[in-house]
Subunit: 230 residues, 2 copies
């Protein structure tokens, strides 16, 4: 017996795929994908629909937030800014940071949730491995929950749920495997669409996570860092 | 001497025009207009550029949030829902309520402000005359300010400023006149683009405001409620 309907933000990546798997245990799914002019937009959209097909999700919405691209400020959307290579130790904000991206995404999700009568919005943000994006922190989501309570109809009750926020990447991989999530259908690379590059922030975090979980990443890579066993 | 740059949300309506006038006193202007599939989108965009020209604002951004239209739920964007006539006494949420609209708008504004290095976002929301939109209340903007602090870079300081939130419509008209705001260039009607209808929520509030301020509304109307002197 499901607890009602949930809007789940699904990029097509590993973290959001596991988030969909968690949401699927308790809620009927309404899957939301947001394009924002990122370099790998088409590949991510393909992964989104593959994951949605896997879960037989009838409610899907794809929204363009292309303003995040022409506002600029990020290597994800502005091709004049190079994608920084992974800095898994440092605390600097990487060039892939899109200013206030998660607030834009959650605002769309809550609008849709209020219209659908959904009682939850799930988002696969990760705090520890987030490489310093300020809008991936629990503090941000707690503050956003208060905005939802203040800014929707009195009868609306929408919880913002971040099921993987406190997990390390290896734990996300393990949870995905435990829940039977279709990790082979996901896409994480920020840089390429044919083969994952293996060296951008996102690839490096993913590969290290699979490595630490003792699971072989099912995706092919153009190259792998030396610490990853083939 | 200006205090820096401000992003000002400018719909082309009365409240946001006076908000631009207030912001202009203290800040350099970056004017942001958001289309969201509302019935009077083209007329509002025309008013936006006329007001921006009046203030000689070099920085302008027009963003489409068309998902607010196809998500639906509002008479402003869904032509199958009739625009409710004014209920200036009741406390019910009118059919023109677009779910969580102001959160979507503020999210765009803050993204742009962070990229520009602006230190303020001005929005012309009005609490008392807002006919019960939950995302027009001071409580909502206070909560959103905390989201901005939590979700932007540590070096970013962006204040959310609502200069007309506590004013009644008549006071907004008076302030606009006092600041020399181009009220003749504004557009408020939710229903028509040729002549203001005079009977929708927005027209009724506007006409009553001018009436109470003792100022003749410079716009032509298709009809006026009986309480308005010609």
């Amino acid at each position: 017996m499901k607890k009602g309907l949930a809007v789940v933000l699904a990029s097509g990546g590993l973290d959001s795929c596991v988030t969909v798997a968690v949401a699927h245990q308790s809620h009927d799914l309404a899957l939301l994908h947001l394009n924002y002019g990122q370099r790998t937009e088409q590949r991510e959209l393909h992964a989104f629909h593959a994951i949605a097909d896997f879960y037989q999700a009838p409610r899907r919405l794809v929204v363009s937030l292309e303003h995040l691209s022409f506002i600029g400020g990020s290597s994800l959307t502005d091709r004049s800014i190079p994608v920084s290579e992974a800095d898994l130790v440092g605390r600097s904000i990487p060039t892939s940071y899109v200013p206030f991206r998660n607030a834009n995404m959650l605002a769309v999700a809550v609008s849709w949730a209020e219209v659908l009568g959904a009682n939850a919005v799930f988002i696969g943000a990760v705090e520890e491995d987030s490489s310093g994006y300020p809008d991936c922190r629990k503090e941000f989501f707690d503050a956003f929950s208060r905005v939802v309570a203040a800014g929707t109809k009195p009868s609306t009750r929408i919880a913002i749920i971040t099921p993987v926020i406190a997990l390390r990447k290896a734990d996300i991989v393990r949870q995905g495997v435990a829940l039977g999530a279709p990790l082979h259908l996901t896409w994480s690379c920020y840089q390429r669409e044919d083969l994952a590059c293996g060296v951008c922030d996102s690839c490096a975090l993913r590969l290290r996570g699979f490595q630490q979980a003792g699971v072989v990443d099912p995706l092919p890579y153009a190259q792998k860092p030396s610490y990853v066993n083939a």
